[in-house]
Symmetry: C2
Subunit: 286 residues, 2 copies
């Protein structure tokens, strides 16, 4: 392990730590946050944050540590993109909040100049998650993934692209069909190119419809606020719902009156997500 501890904070009997490490996949230093519950981790939940966020956003705002401590879940919060001078110097990297820095979309870019450092898929799947699993002594049967908005897209696509890598899957207000929404079209055009043939492999609803078998027999939990101003134009939960129905995947899609796209919503439902993952890991019998 080559994690440099930046800070640590007592939290609900466990410890919230922030780390920096030299990522080989990204080719730059990366930061992440890791919560370790009291008594050590019995399971690991990876939570991917949304546009403009960092490793600190969910860590600080979601209030997830309380229930994670009770359930024995470690929480891994990666950053949302490469950062630093080598990245911010790229034309277009800092001009908008929905592309470039803070908007890595959890994929490996194939288009220059993004293909050099924007390799969040390989970073997470080949480097960070395996290293943290090794550190905690946990395997895929004790690892789940979730995320919010762009991070919900990331959780769904990484889980569907990597069968067996996670035992449990959920999302909060995910970008569920990026090929058809402005955020997704902008990101995919920039990172993957204008040729749409490359897009379905990174589109949760397209990936789901193409699954050869039910990928998550225990069901997938998705929460969506109905006062979310991005719902109609950007999120398309109904596309995921339709794709799940096509292949027989159980989807617990809960629509909530009066909740928006922000962290007050995430905090209000995060306990249910932690319980969902813990159950799939066999940590809670009920």
């Amino acid at each position: 392990m080559n994690f440099e501890l930046i800070s640590e904070h007592g939290s609900f009997g466990g410890v919230q730590r922030f780390y920096r490490h030299a990522s080989q996949q990204i080719g730059l230093p990366m930061r992440f946050a890791l919560y370790v519950p009291p008594g050590g981790a019995k399971g690991l939940l990876v939570f991917l944050a949304g546009l403009t966020c960092t490793e600190e956003t969910f860590t600080m705002k979601a209030g997830a540590q309380r229930r994670a401590a009770e359930l024995g879940l470690a929480l891994l919060m990666p950053d949302t993109s490469p950062r630093g001078e080598a990245v911010s110097a790229l034309p277009g990297a800092t001009e908008s909040w929905d592309f470039g820095i803070g908007a890595g979309f959890y994929l490996d870019a194939t288009q220059a100049p993004w293909d050099r450092h924007f390799r969040m898929d390989s970073y997470l799947m080949k480097e960070l998650i395996p290293q943290v699993q090794a550190e905690l002594g946990l395997d895929a049967a004790r690892t789940g993934i979730s995320g919010h908005s762009m991070g919900g897209h990331g959780a769904l696509t990484l889980a569907l692209r990597n069968p067996g890598a996670f035992v449990s899957l959920s999302a909060i207000a995910p970008i569920a069909a990026p090929s058809r929404c402005p955020w997704g079209v902008k990101a995919f055009t920039g990172y993957l190119g204008a040729d749409r043939d490359a897009w379905p492999a990174h589109d949760a609803s397209a990936l789901m419809a193409a699954q050869p078998r039910v990928p998550y027999p225990g069901g997938i939990l998705v929460d969506q606020g109905l006062a979310d101003k991005f719902l109609v134009e950007q999120l398309y939960p109904e596309a995921l719902e339709s794709a799940c129905a096509t292949i027989g995947q159980d989807l617990f899609l809960r629509r909530h009156d009066g909740y928006d796209h922000g962290y007050y919503f995430i905090a209000s439902v995060i306990d249910d997500h932690l319980i969902h993952h813990a159950r799939q890991m066999g940590l809670q019998g009920r």
Copy 2:
């Protein structure tokens, strides 16, 4: 009421709102946050934040809404000082993080130029809290006060300076004896003047020792982390402990290994504070 709604967010079945209003006491626009639990407020907890914070800090980071919703507690989060051009133009208002903007210390300044707008005591006690109580239909028997660090100082001093204004009192890592710590000496010298005769009236430990009777018969809850880097130089919980012992005031002072001065600590203990206040209000029998 003259509250302008800035934003509102669904939160644990209730609503987290942010407001702006023209404060007569401050002479400037002020912001605050108000959480209203599902089913309406049965009690009100005022929470005062620490140095550099705004009305959003505790609101977003403490995770208090979950238990507040269960207990039927509304939460009022004021800002920590006046803001705006009229304030930032004052010499010394923005040079340091422990004086001026973000550092109002919840008192009425008597020294020019601060005495014009830095009137947080009168703002809270004569304007904001009464107006919010009226809005919610609650009186002092259903109103408690708490705070963190500088806000813990504010909660303790406002509660002790205003007998009968609150039914319950608690604090997290409060500045408990400001007359003898660098933060307090700097603030009191600037806002109240170098003549120390004016200081005890705004020093929690001095106020406590001078109380003619036990002010909070139900006890006062104070939590303090032992990994708090400000503990030795700035906070002096032992001074409050000694003053409480002098007058026979029950103080539940809990010292916690491994916790620092930040919001991961606050989040870890906030539920106990909410329960403490709810009990004093008669909202929870146990």
